[in-house]
């Protein structure tokens, strides 16, 4: 016994240093964390003049006037949050439905087709969604959704104002389509990870498929589906080009779904190359920093949620 302890102690004392290959690839792999860190640090450093000049009031300011050098982020934060959350609300039921289908439907052929379709949906470039949203979706929504709702409920602020083709509604629909793949792919993995014994137990008690799904499978997968939603929310918050093309790009805070708005990412995309003066461009970088900080927190939270579930 004693000799065994001594020999392991000797072995650990003589353990060779990690081999060169491991050290080398570990250093190369540092590129990912370093890029992430560098993005945050560089943006914070670039935005510093604006941060010190405006203070925390920047986040709640409503003015955006390059001539008088007054800048406030509130309309952009409003537009970003409203479009992203509404997109999530629209996409969530469909996404969970698709996830259930991909995890549980009995026809493998059809399942594979839908799976490929959803994957392709994620691969289509954002600018293609943008041009489609601008020339196909926006006019259709205008004539078939916005005008009728506006006529029928003229007093409801949600449908009030003057309907426009490029509006919050159009941006919400485009975003909902774009986050659907994230939502359904992650939810599918989570639903698949639910132990089969739970399902069998419910069936053995005489539950139907839907009762099993609604009362057993979905509650068991709840945390993971929540994580998938947060992950999808992060994608929606940062989506730039498609939203820029369909949201109308006006920094207003209006209650109507049919009004134009502006998002953090869109205003940076539109105005950064034209920004004159240090304060203007650093204010835009600060908007970018707000966006990065938000998505960073949202993504880390979502990944931790999904991971704990995957581990069971």
């Amino acid at each position: 016994m004693a000799s065994a302890t001594v020999s392991t102690a000797q072995a650990s004392a003589r353990r060779p240093p990690p081999e060169g290959f491991r050290v080398f690839t570990a250093l190369v792999a540092a590129a990912a964390p370093l890029s992430l860190l560098a993005i945050v640090v560089v943006l914070a450093q670039q935005a510093w003049p604006a941060i010190t000049h405006f203070g925390p009031g920047f986040l709640v300011g409503r003015a955006w006037n390059p001539v008088t050098a007054e800048f406030g982020a509130l309309p952009y934060i409003f537009g970003t949050l409203v479009t992203s959350f509404l997109a999530l609300v629209v996409a969530l039921p469909v996404g969970v439905g698709v996830a259930l289908f991909l995890a549980e439907a009995s026809r493998p052929r059809l399942r594979a087709t839908i799976g490929i379709g959803v994957e392709l949906l994620a691969a289509i470039p954002s600018v293609v969604y943008g041009i489609w949203g601008l020339y196909v979706l926006a006019p259709w929504l205008y004539h078939h959704v916005e005008i009728p709702l506006n006529d029928h409920f003229p007093n409801l602020p949600l449908f009030g104002g003057t309907p426009r083709q490029t509006s919050i509604l159009t941006a919400v629909v485009v975003l909902a389509v774009m986050i659907l793949p994230t939502l359904s792919a992650v939810s599918r993995d989570v639903i698949k990870a639910v132990p089969n014994g739970l399902r069998e137990g419910a069936y053995a008690l005489g539950a139907t498929w839907w009762e099993t799904t609604w009362r057993v499978v979905l509650p068991a997968a709840r945390a993971g589906i929540f994580g998938a939603s947060v992950l999808a929310l992060g994608r929606a918050l940062g989506e730039t080009i498609a939203v820029t093309m369909v949201i109308g790009n006006r920094p207003d805070i209006q209650p109507s779904l049919f009004a134009p708005a502006y998002t953090l990412a869109s205003v940076v995309a539109n105005e950064f190359t034209e920004a004159t003066g240090q304060l203007y461009s650093t204010a835009l970088i600060e908007l970018g920093l707000v966006l990065v900080a938000t998505t960073l927190v949202v993504n880390v939270a979502a990944l931790l949620l999904v991971r704990t579930v995957d581990r069971g």
Binding site: L102, I124, I131
Partner: protein, 282 residues
């Protein structure tokens, strides 16, 4: 009981409806892009000429095609080797704490808004030199591609039966030979398709190029100059009021969609073959 069964059928139908609803936007986007873009994309001028002033016939997007090739090529040279080595590290030293951190950072980097990566590349590669350049655009795209290549490489390596690694180590091969000559070679089809998926993704990105490559109306080869790209052409031309520029935008969008469809469907076929092969190996 009948009510319970009725509800069961109702929700099963709803599940199928959700699956079909998910396919609807895909077919609409692809369908309309083909319908609006084919007229521009079938003309030889579209590939042989570059941008001309509005109203003069025979304009094309040759400059943007060349620009996209150049930008994505440079980004690939940077991101693919780094991504493959990093992915190898993640697969070979899975349980180590550093691998867990790198994996998390990679997943967060995938979700980082691409416009922020554009601002980052602007601050590092454009502002110090006082002019837009293809180099900076390629740098931004490389940051985007890196986590994708890294994670797909790791995934492909995990599909290789671990017995291969053990056999190599048992024969006394050093770890780097086992990792690079046995494992990576066995996983090669998966690694290559992962890299291709990253390339297709980078080719369609607009936001990181807005303040880096910036765009150009002429054909340029010098990577120190502002460089045009297909997504930039779609973005800028779609927002003009001119019909023929909009046509060009749809045509360029069609090229991007075709590229994405070919790479994604092709890689799916190739991967399926590899998985079948790996299964036989067991």
């Amino acid at each position: 009981m009948r009510r319970r069964l009725g509800r069961d059928v109702l929700f099963k139908v709803l599940m199928y409806v959700a699956a079909c609803v998910a396919l609807l936007p895909l077919s609409l986007v692809v369908g309309y892009t083909i319908a609006n873009g084919w007229q521009a994309a079938v003309q030889p001028d579209f590939y042989l000429h570059f941008e001309r002033p509005e109203g003069i016939p025979g304009a094309g997007v040759q400059h943007a095609i060349v620009g996209t090739l150049e930008l994505v090529g440079m980004a690939s040279l940077l991101a693919i080797p780094v991504g493959i080595l990093a992915g190898t590290h993640l697969a070979e030293y899975r349980q180590h704490r550093w691998a867990t951190w790198v994996r998390l950072a990679g997943d967060v980097l995938v979700g980082t808004p691409s416009i922020a990566i554009g601002l980052f590349a602007y601050a590092l590669l454009v502002a110090p030199f006082h002019h837009f350049s293809a180099f900076s655009g390629a740098g931004a795209l490389a940051v985007l591609m890196l986590p994708v290549v890294m994670r797909t490489t790791e995934g492909a390596l995990l599909l290789v039966p671990p017995g291969l690694r053990e056999a190599g180590l048992a024969l006394g091969l050093p770890r780097w030979r086992v990792a690079l000559h046995l494992m990576l070679r066995a996983a090669l089809p998966g690694v290559v398709t992962g890299a291709l998926l990253a390339v297709a993704r980078a080719a369609g990105e607009t936001a990181p190029l807005l303040f880096t490559a910036f765009g150009n109306r002429r054909l340029v080869f010098n990577p120190a100059e502002p460089m045009p790209a297909l997504p930039l052409t779609v973005f800028h031309n779609a927002l003009t009021p001119y019909k023929d520029l909009q046509q060009q935008a749809w045509g360029a969008a069609l090229l991007l969609v075709v590229l994405v469809l070919i790479v994604n469907l092709g890689s799916r076929l190739a991967l399926r073959r590899q998985i079948a092969f790996a299964g036989r190996g067991l």
